[in-house]
Symmetry: C2
Subunit: 127 residues, 2 copies
Amino acid sequence: MNKINEYPSKAKCTHEQNGYPCFVPAQRVLNLIGKKWSIQIINVLGNGNQVRYNDLREQLRRGWKKNKISDATLSARLAELSEEGVLIRDIHPEIPPKVEYSLSEKGEELAEALQPLIDWTIKTCHE
Amino acid sequence: MNKINEYPSKAKCTHEQNGYPCFVPAQRVLNLIGKKWSIQIINVLGNGNQVRYNDLREQLRRGWKKNKISDATLSARLAELSEEGVLIRDIHPEIPPKVEYSLSEKGEELAEALQPLIDWTIKTCHE
């Protein structure tokens, strides 16, 4: 890992203080995606997928006999990811209203940046 | 982000159940490094650095006028990272005992896998 205070000026953070590296945004994002089910949600919505709430829940629950994701948890994660700008909630004006979730451009970038970490955790899981 | 259940068989996880992707290890690691100060600690100890407790605390506190890391928090993070095998606690049999912290091989790999995510958060921080 490079020292952040050796970063090129392009990446120089306005949050830097006395040469202290800016980990504030990394911290916030890691905290968000470290919460239960966040990365699974990002995975299901990745690659441009638009998924309705019930389908999303179904995909997340697939394969789990117990410890299935609850509606309360799924709603909380969707709200947090949406607030962070990672996820788009697309409401179609139909009756009944059709709501679809997808990753924003920021979300797709996050998914891409996250992939090496996920690859590594899966690799080490088998060592 | 690739669908994990499209992973090559090499990365196939024993935790997989009915084709459900194994995010358990990613979840655990993300939860750990999502905690306050974890990534800063990994950053200070990266690149083969061996750092004594007081030096580590000093480096983490540099630039902060308030919200400095407390001894309780630093000790908790060091214990957690050590338990996960990310960090090595090297005790030199001297009087008084000299304790140095460094990243394990697993820790260096984690730092490398984490770098794209940190780069991305810093980049988006300035947009």
